[in-house]
Symmetry: C2
Subunit: 96 residues, 2 copies
């Protein structure tokens, strides 16, 4: 599942927690945080700290994968030795 917003994250965490048969207190304790924090995050709090989020996801047996989006990958990422066209254009734009 793709995570685009804090709300996405919260929904996923809640779903996963319930599937594992944990209540908010259980998860809070195992993840080393407070129940209040779990409540807020499940509600989509955008200002939660990534450190706590990562610990919580680990507790839930969940992995976070990061990847370049397919549409951009083609033009932006360069093989070693190739020219990155975006890189070139960007550098040119900076010398008016």
């Amino acid at each position: 599942m793709k995570i685009r917003t804090a709300a996405d994250l919260g929904a996923f965490i809640r779903e996963r927690r319930v599937k594992l048969g944990m209540d908010q207190s259980d998860l809070a304790e195992k993840a080393g945080t407070s129940r209040k924090w779990i409540v807020e995050v499940e509600q989509g709090k955008p200002r939660a700290e990534i450190g706590l989020v990562l610990r919580t996801l680990k507790t839930l047996g969940v992995s976070l994968d990061i990847a370049v989006e397919r549409t951009q990958k083609a033009s932006a990422v360069s093989e070693p030795g190739n020219v990155d066209i975006n890189n070139v254009l960007n550098s040119l734009k900076k010398r008016p």
Copy 2:
């Protein structure tokens, strides 16, 4: 790439930023944050807010995917109608 710690995140963000030919100021501006924040995040700050992180990743054309780890998936996730054994065990543990 799997993200397990804030340091992982920071390293990825930096690598991606450089590949796109942006400096820290560019990224900060486009992501709607400050250069200071970019510096800290690239250094692996664990208390950065997920909201800003998500905006930054979007700016970098990167997607975050979340998934149940393979090893746990088999036993923990239940098809609709099946019994989730973890769920059962957990409930039993709660009534001493």
